[in-house]
Amino acid sequence: MPLLGYAPYSSLAPSLTQTSFLELSSDVSTTSASFVDLISITIYTYGGTCLVTFSVSGEDSANNRNLYFQLVMDGTPIKWTQFRTPNTQNSACLTATVIPAEGSHTFLIQWRVSANTGQIRPVTVNEEHAALLIEEVAR
């Protein structure tokens, strides 16, 4: 039902059913060369299209290393992104659309490094963050 004062554009227009947003709230690091969990959102979806957006900025303790990220939905990897750190921080993003069946679903971002220590430090470094946004749009 539309909220008071927000009339639907038309009965056929897609509408935003829900949003869910989560970001790192502490500094994290990994030395893992295989994917490990970074951040996740579990939501109940209603059969709509889910727009998934992930943004990240971080660095590795050594130059010329890669940080890799993958989006996993309900245990299945579906999208990947990465960046290389020549000397300092770098950044990456990932967007995806999926249409899960109505029910509870988990959207998970995992990460790994090519070598040394990957770091994302939203508390101590202003230019580092990792954030995951899910927007479900009714069809």
Binding site: P2, A7, Y9, T19, F21, S57, Q89, S91, E127, E128
Partner: protein, 137 residues
């Protein structure tokens, strides 16, 4: 005449760099700005950029600022002069006080390598885009 919006999205706002823009500043200066009047709702901000630096191993930093308060930032580095890199920020605010709010993207170059950062949307590697959604869900 009432303005009709899609359920869940009260309004959107968008701006982007349309002309070649350069900074040599090593402290944050304004790049893009959007001022919107919201209800007591959250706002989702999307920012993406790609630019070149004139010096080797130079980096560019950006931050999202709401009503004068920095929220989140990114940094990226060009491997060599003339090459670019890219980054993005996605952020959802808590419920804002109803009224006028200014969202700003600021940028600067790293302090050590000199040169400049150039955002040239007419080039094959340059853009900066800033998009807001006021959401009720």
């Amino acid at each position: 005449m009432p303005v009709l919006y899609q359920e869940g999205i009260r309004q959107t706002a968008y701006t982007e760099i349309t002309t070649s823009t350069t900074t040599t500043s090593t402290t944050y200066v304004d790049l893009l700005s959007l001022t919107i009047t919201t209800g007591a709702n959250s706002v989702i901000a999307h920012f993406s950029a790609s630019n070149a630096n004139s010096a080797d191993t130079q980096w560019t930093e950006f931050q999202l600022v709401l009503d004068g308060t920095p929220l989140r930032g990114i940094a990226y580095e060009s491997v060599s002069s003339g090459n670019g890199d890219s980054g993005s920020i996605v952020y959802k605010t808590s419920v804002l006080t109803a009224g006028s709010h200014t969202f700003t993207i600021q940028w600067h170059i790293g302090p050590f390598s000199g040169g400049n950062a150039n955002l040239d949307p007419s080039s094959s590697i340059g853009h900066a885009s800033f998009y807001l959604e006021e959401v009720t869900v």
